[in-house]
Amino acid sequence: MLKCFFRYSDIPEVAQINDMLFHKKLRLQGKDFSEPNREFQESEPLFKCIKHYAIENNIEELANAQYVVSLYMKLLCQLSSYYKSLMEKEYRESWNILQDCLDLAFWIGQYTIIENRYEIPQIVDLLTGYESLYPYKVFASTEMIITKSECSICGKPFQSLDCQHIKGNLYWGEVALENVTEIKEFQAVAMVSHPLDKRCVMELSDDTRTKEEKFQLLNEFLEQQIPAFQLFSIEIHKTRRQRPDIKIVERNDKCPCGSGKKFKNCCGQDLYYEHHHHIIHLREHILFQKN
């Protein structure tokens, strides 16, 4: 879908978008993350115009391709937003932007064969690396009974076979979405490690730690000043370390903490903790490709 769009470069709006993408990529490569959404906002009317042209001229391929390229433009802009939020240490907000970027990359992948995805597989690789630096490992995921929903394209009940649109497929530049209108029952909220949407994170309500403490690994990683778009992988070495806050006495002596118990039955049981030593392996840079 991405390459197919640029085959229509004789259409002035397509050529203009091509230039804007090139300019955006140059800005990203030059680590210019200011006004992150500028190109997306400027290109929106052009995409609308191309869609209109495609429908008027009965070219569904172009209508669908313009949608995928608009996702691509949005992804590049969201990448700027992501790095901007990291630079401003807006770690909690950056998590949602990171998920937006990943969703956009996956959507583009859904409509584009692997060989034509430009640098997107590398971007996913990079973002998954960043994802592993956050403290979020378990997520809330809903379980519910849906009794009524509508198709975003034809408006018919989505559960009905009268509506032939398949969820997630593209039709004339629009994605068929299921708009849920009636939920009979919320059955549960499950704690899962691999949900469809990782935005529903679990946080402690009385957590008084600073953001540097809460996002310690991410913060320490950013302090290394590894350039943006530098691919990396992280190796974790686990070692057992002695806790410095516990005073060691003989096993059968009374515990120094004042509990009255023997040391071996009290603090002696928590004498060691598992220390994670993270080694960052730097790999190649992402080079943004010409369209």
């Binding site: 996956f106 692997i114 076979l161 969820k167």
Partner: protein, 163 residues
Amino acid sequence: MTHGFSLSPSDYPFEKYFSDYSISNVTKDKLNGTDILILPSPYENSKYYFAQEAVSFVKYCRSINNDVKTDILADEDKIEVRALHSFDIWMPIIWIASDIILPTTIGLVANYIYERMKGREKEDCTVKVSFIIRDGKKTKELHYDGDARAFKETFEKIDIHKL
């Protein structure tokens, strides 16, 4: 990621479903005129819900293979879907009118999984799917619960006709 399948005689409670949900005769007759029929899954609370992918799978089958008649065993306004919002693929119970159609059905499921995984090919994903196969007067069940990528490969290794 593990993957595995199992085979067992089927005891799907058709009669209980029909009476509990006052299913119409038109819907009941689908058991006689359909090649592939999507069934709801019975749950502990005596309710029957369709798996998350049920409706999309029927639409998908109809869009790519008109020779195989595919339908859903429910009255039009009584389709209740259990949505889980997991990345895993929860396929419905798939009833098959004859074992001759099983290879085609497995091919359809494999292609559907491939379509669902597009764009996220490298991620771990589990597929859960059950087939109920009518073989003369008997019925047998085939279950798969495992790696999405291994689904096609697993069934390619098995001589489906000898099951």
